[in-house]
């Protein structure tokens, strides 16, 4: 079975327990994966739209939604959605109708597809690939394409300006963002996101708490986190970089001609990709599912049974920890949006090309040189004493091998 259906382990479990049919089990596993990832795609987006309204209201000394679903307006996003579904599906007479209609779908599908590669907790990801991060960024660049198509197909000058600005911004901000994401990759020696987290997860060593192993506390990766996060904010078209929809100059930029469900697809994709880039930041720099005090590690222990209660509990706590970290970063993005004024387009370009890009290059160079310098002066490539990378890899490798064997043995017993 090939990599595109990397629903391998779940598919095998289903084949062994429910049905003998190979294609059926793969299909069932794929449906379960899509449903789970879809829940993680849709739910945070709804919650963050509500949070944006509440936080912006509080920052501006207002109350925000207070009526729908109780005192805090919990169900405001649902009410908004119901309102948007009822609206008429309009397309301008001059527009390229086909591209105009398809653009929101491209944006949503690209954002959704990028979620496939996120490891929500140790071993719980829809697709675990060695090119995980690379592919994720490829998917994100597809999302920009949808925005540009929307801007062009609307046949409106505001929309075209918005689309062109988005294209220019994306082409330049993609570079420092990828280079900064390379810093933890170079440190961990892998593009596999789950392995990057394993690199940052450690046990207590005397009184040194495990969270000091997170990349954000590393002298090179710490600044890289800041640069990455600025670029990630720009890549989500968030203020102060929301030049693509700058409502004070361009009405609503590429969104000008959209209404109803198609408009809300863009909105959904924006909040989902905010969550996505925040989750990637949490994975690369903040230890991902590692809680920082060794709780997940001690719960999971060296157990090889994926269905043991302690392992499942550890995984659930890990997923909650990752969600909490990503949500904090999303709240930070919301806070920044309602605090800072929008930059001009030339300032956006200057920020990227004259400041962020050289900083990213210097940090990448430093990430390569720093371990070598430490190795020369102190005799080990990190400041903190820890297991070296090969030991971590070997440990993970053996546990996955054992799982495969256990699954095979179970299959034999059932047969």
């Amino acid at each position: 079975m090939s990599l595109i259906l990397a629903a391998e382990s779940l598919a095998e479990i289903i084949r062994d327990t429910l049905t003998e049919c190979e294609s059926c089990s793969v299909a069932i596993a794929a449906i379960i994966h899509v449903a789970l990832v879809g829940a993680f795609f849709g739910l945070p987006a709804g919650i963050f739209i509500w949070a944006e309204r509440k936080v912006s209201a509080r920052i501006q000394d207002r109350l925000g939604p207070t009526r729908v679903g109780g005192r805090f307006g919990w169900l405001q996003s649902l009410a908004d959605g119901a309102k948007l579904v009822q609206k008429e599906d309009l397309a301008p007479a001059a527009a390229d109708k086909f591209l105009f209609r398809i653009a929101p779908y491209i944006v949503v599908i690209a954002s959704f597809a990028a979620f496939m590669f996120l490891p929500f907790t140790d071993g719980w990801s829809a697709v675990s690939l060695d090119v995980g991060l690379f592919l994720l960024f490829g998917m994100l660049s597809l999302e920009v394409l949808g925005v540009i198509l929307a801007g062009y197909a609307s046949a409106s000058k505001w929309a075209l300006f918005g689309g062109m600005r988005e294209a220019a911004q994306m082409v330049s901000y993609e570079i420092p963002m990828s280079i900064c994401a390379l810093v933890p990759i170079v440190m961990a020696g892998t593009l596999n996101l789950n392995e990057v987290i394993h690199y940052q997860s450690a046990d207590w060593i005397g009184v040194i708490p495990p969270f000091l192993h997170w990349n954000v506390f590393h002298p090179v990766a710490g600044p890289a986190f800041v640069v990455y996060f600025v670029c990630a904010t720009a890549s989500c078209k968030r203020a102060p970089f929301d030049l693509a929809e700058a409502e004070s100059e361009l009405v609503a930029g590429f969104l000008t001609e959209y209404s109803g469900m198609r408009w809300s697809f863009f909105f959904l994709a924006e909040y989902a990709s905010m969550f996505l880039v925040s989750a990637v930041a949490a994975i690369l720099f903040l230890g991902g599912w590692d809680d920082g005090f060794g709780i997940v590690r001690s719960l999971k222990g060296s157990s090889t049974d994926v269905l043991a209660p302690s392992v499942i509990l550890g995984n659930l706590i890990g997923a909650a920890v990752l969600m909490a970290k990503a949500s904090k970063l999303v709240l930070l993005q919301i806070w920044v949006r309602w605090t800072l004024p929008r930059l001009r387009i030339d300032q956006v370009m200057t920020t990227c090309l004259k400041y962020l890009l050289p900083m990213a290059c210097a940090l990448f160079l430093a990430a390569v040189v720093y371990p070598i310098a430490l190795l020369v002066w102190t005799g080990r490539p990190q400041l903190l004493p820890r297991l070296n990378n090969e030991q971590v890899k070997a440990e993970v490798l053996t546990s996955s091998e054992v799982e495969v064997k256990v699954a095979a043995a179970d299959g034999e017993v059932i047969q």
């Binding site: 990599l3 591209l99 675990s128 394409l145 046949a155 789950n194 890899k393 996955s400």
Partner: protein, 200 residues
């Protein structure tokens, strides 16, 4: 017919439909969109063949490249929006001739491969186990590690002394650097000293 064959048929069809639509469409942006459908389907075919790194690169490079193409297509070719491009019959004949020749070369190559002799090799490459989680071994279809090793001249998969691709890799890198510097030199703003002094 299993899931993989079904997906292959789907993506092969999408690739062909995208390619044909690039030729038939007369609108620059629609052409670019069809090109993306075609190239993205090719990347999906790479994934079906377990070439994950090539697939990801296809997606990243070609989609990014097409976006830039789109910008220039819109900014440089059309004076009004939604411009139509018309081709003359002579261009059509020329393109059709080249296309048929290409098709002939490709089908000749495909038919001349002795598939039976290579069947065990193909089976070895495609029958891969993906570990459920964590560290994926190089041999399990994750192609990044062997590719990276081969680029720096090490071939652990082919035994100690097999040749890698260090020299081609370095040549291409230097070539790209030269192209970048050349592009930056051509694109830089020229100082018109004489014009300024005349204005003053």
């Amino acid at each position: 017919m299993n899931v993989e064959q079904l997906l292959f048929a789907l993506f092969a069809l999408l690739t062909c439909a995208g390619a044909i639509s690039v030729v038939i469409c007369q609108n620059v942006v629609r052409m670019a969109f069809s090109l993306i459908v075609c190239l993205a389907s090719v990347s999906a075919l790479f994934f079906l063949l377990s070439a994950d790194f090539v697939g990801a690169t296809q997606l990243m490079v070609y989609v990014g490249g097409t976006v830039v193409l789109l910008i220039f297509g819109v900014m440089l070719t059309s004076s009004s929006t939604l411009l139509q491009i018309r081709t003359s019959p002579a261009e059509g004949f020329l393109a059709a001739g080249i296309g048929v020749l290409f098709l002939a070369v490709f089908s000749f190559t495909a038919w001349s491969v002795d598939w039976d002799a290579n069947s065990d090799r193909i089976a070895r490459v495609t029958a891969v186990d993906v570990p459920p989680q964590g560290y994926n071994e190089a041999s399990s279809g994750n192609t990044v590690r062997p590719l990276a090793m081969a680029f720096v001249g090490l071939r652990p998969d082919k035994g100690g002394n097999a040749a890698g691709y260090l020299l081609p890799f370095e040549i291409i890198s230097v070539h790209l650097l030269v192209v970048l510097i050349g592009a930056a030199y051509l694109a830089r703003t020229k100082r018109r000293v004489s014009a300024d002094t005349q204005n003053k």
